[in-house]
């Protein structure tokens, strides 16, 4: 087993503020590494360092065995980059955008055309091929951007929040593309704020928070890391939910979190389940759904950081506003 990316102790400061605070990272060749973290956690900074756009203040990183600082050209020959914001030229057509990249990568004129046609077809953009990219929808632009990063058939692909702002259909399409690339042997580093996305695609997940790696492992390991199982319940009558919540609280003696539809509680012992069912029955609560499952990555994140990804997002967005 070889590693496509190896980074040790990456530190990056912006005006004294530590965006990365000693990040170690390993991506296995041919696998998907998911970098999961809320706004401002350092995902983009990590990607920019690993794609030679930014130099780390401390630490080192190798991509395909080449040092990102000392051998950037060799690294650039291996990678494709789809940044967080679609980096296509809005005034050029889809074809022109892709042909330009192909020509820069050393394709001759006819090869460049052929490659562009092939990619536009693959990303369902053939009909819009001749239109300026500024007339594309957000999703189309993202697909064109991804196509542009694949022109040179990179061995290693960086995807920085590739599905942010995509509708479910486009998102599923993109997931399929990523799976297809992995089948072709491409190594993928994918950043995301969506726990589900990391769970769906990644072989390994690294959780970033405030520029530090707070956890790393397979999705399975991460879920185990959070330890408990989760009992989740939904009542037929929403009005009965609060009564149900009280019952579960009494049985498990742990704090129950509930929204308007569901109640959740971490449990250590699966034996509480029959007891819960019995008491609910006694009190005449009609149960629509009752399950015992491994925690979701959202709950893992909560367990790891003590705060939910959403809370952090709200805070970071406010900071973002101040910065602009």
């Amino acid at each position: 087993m070889t590693d496509a990316i190896r980074a040790e102790g990456l530190v990056k400061q912006f005006k004294g503020k530590r965006a990365l605070d000693g990040v170690d990272l390993t991506a296995t060749t041919g696998a998907v590494l998911g970098v999961l973290g809320p706004n401002g956690s350092g995902k983009t900074t990590t990607v920019r360092i690993l794609s030679t756009l930014l130099q780390p203040d401390e630490g080192r990183a190798e991509v395909g065995g080449f040092d990102v600082v000392r051998q950037p050209h060799e690294v650039r020959r291996l990678i494709g980059l789809t940044g967080q914001y679609a980096a296509v030229d809005a005034e050029l057509s889809g074809t022109e955008n892709l042909v330009l990249i192909a020509r820069l990568l050393g394709f001759d004129r006819s090869q460049a055309r052929a490659r562009s046609t092939e990619l536009l077809e693959r990303f369902e953009l053939s009909d819009a091929a001749g239109r300026p990219a500024k007339t594309y929808s957000g999703g189309m632009r993202r697909r064109l951007d991804l196509a542009a990063s694949l022109v040179g058939r990179p061995a290693l692909l960086y995807l920085d929040e590739p599905t942010t702002g995509l509708d479910p259909h486009s998102r599923n399409g993109l997931w399929d593309v990523v799976r297809g690339l992995v089948d072709d042997g491409v190594t993928v580093l994918l950043t995301t704020q969506y726990l589900e996305e990391a769970d769906q695609l990644a072989d390994d997940i690294m959780v970033l928070d405030h520029g530090r790696v707070i956890s790393q492992g397979t999705p399975e390991q991460l879920k185990n890391h959070a330890g408990n199982q989760v009992l989740e319940l939904q009542t037929v009558e929403p009005e009965q939910l609060s009564l149900a919540t009280k019952i579960i609280e009494a049985v498990t003696s742990s704090p129950v979190t509930s929204d308007t539809v569901r109640a959740r509680v971490p449990v250590t012992d699966a034996a509480v389940l029959p007891e819960v069912v019995r008491r609910l029955d006694e009190q005449g609560v009609a149960v629509a759904e009752l399950s015992l499952r491994k925690p979701s990555l959202d709950e893992v994140f909560l367990a790891l950081t003590g705060h939910t990804a959403d809370e952090e997002t709200a805070g970071a967005t406010a900071n973002e506003g101040n910065r602009a």
Binding site: L81, G83, L100, L105, A155, G185
Partner: protein
């Protein structure tokens, strides 16, 4: 680190041409030309740009000649001949703002990130942008000339004189656009390039011999105007197009161009490398 091996290109699906092995001056120029092609495509794709490049010269020449002509020099024909070299210079000097604007936009939109993640010379996007802009400046020169010819401008210098003047103004523009590129790399938004550029360009063009003979200006303004690089440029163009002193102003223009390149080329490259 011995376990780290490079994913070899032979593992990849067939059909990918070998990515450029190393950066050579030839590959840099090739990439620069490919990126210049992009700038030219953008002119074509952008109707406002085409409108700006064609309509502005028509408007400027017409307004200046017919509004100010009589008052300036007694009759509009004399002022037209005086004005033409000046207005070509002014149009091109203002057009250099576009360089900084476009570069800033590319950085802001992340398009440069894509280029910089490709195995091409880091300077290629900068070279491409500036080569592409030379095309834009040439169009500007031709458009202003066409309008001038349409209202009876018949330069005594003939075709050679006009070509000479065009060469001088394009050289000057090439030098000046490094200043614009520097501004574009230093400020955050294209709008800021616009405002900042205007502050630079207005005194540079209007405080020169482009529209008015500096002899008529109050003494302090005259000193400014006579030492303004644009004055040397316009005087050189007048000499070439209309007859008169050529060697002196051309030499000054070349000197100023060299100064602009000498100062702003390194600054622009520095700012470009540092902008992340």
């Amino acid at each position: 680190m011995s376990a780290v091996t490079s994913p070899s290109r032979s593992d990849l699906p067939a059909g990918a041409p070998a990515a450029p092995g190393s950066i050579t001056p030839i590959s840099t120029v090739q990439n620069g030309l490919q990126l210049a092609w992009r700038s030219v495509l953008k002119i074509k794709a952008n109707p406002e740009e085409v409108l700006g490049l064609t309509f502005m010269p028509i408007m400027f020449v017409t307004l200046f000649v017919f509004v100010f002509g009589q008052a300036m020099m007694g009759d509009w024909q004399t002022y037209r001949d005086f004005l033409m070299p000046g207005i070509i210079a002014q149009s091109v000097v203002f057009a250099t703002l576009g360089t900084g604007f476009a570069l800033c936009q590319d950085v802001e939109k992340g398009i440069f990130d894509r280029f910089r993640s490709l195995p091409i010379a880091r300077s290629a996007p900068l070279i491409g942008a500036i080569l592409g802009d030379l095309v834009r400046y040439s169009i500007t020169v031709v458009m202003v000339l066409v309008v001038g010819l349409a209202i009876g401008f018949r330069p005594e210098g003939g075709v050679l004189g006009v070509l000479g003047a065009a060469a001088v103004v394009l050289l000057f523009a090439f030098a000046l656009c490094w200043m614009s590129a520097f501004v574009g790399m230093m400020v955050r938004t294209p709008m800021a390039v616009q405002s900042f550029g205007m502050i630079l360009m207005f005194p540079l063009t209007f405080g020169s011999s482009a529209f008015v003979d500096p002899q008529t200006m109050p003494s302090w303004m005259r000193v400014v105007a006579e030492n303004n690089p644009v004055t040397h440029l316009v005087d050189a163009m007048r000499g070439l197009m209309l007859g008169g002193d050529v060697a002196g102003p051309v030499a000054w223009t070349l000197l100023w161009s060299a100064i602009f390149v000498g100062v702003f080329f390194p600054l622009a490259v520095w700012a470009y490398r540092r902008r992340t």
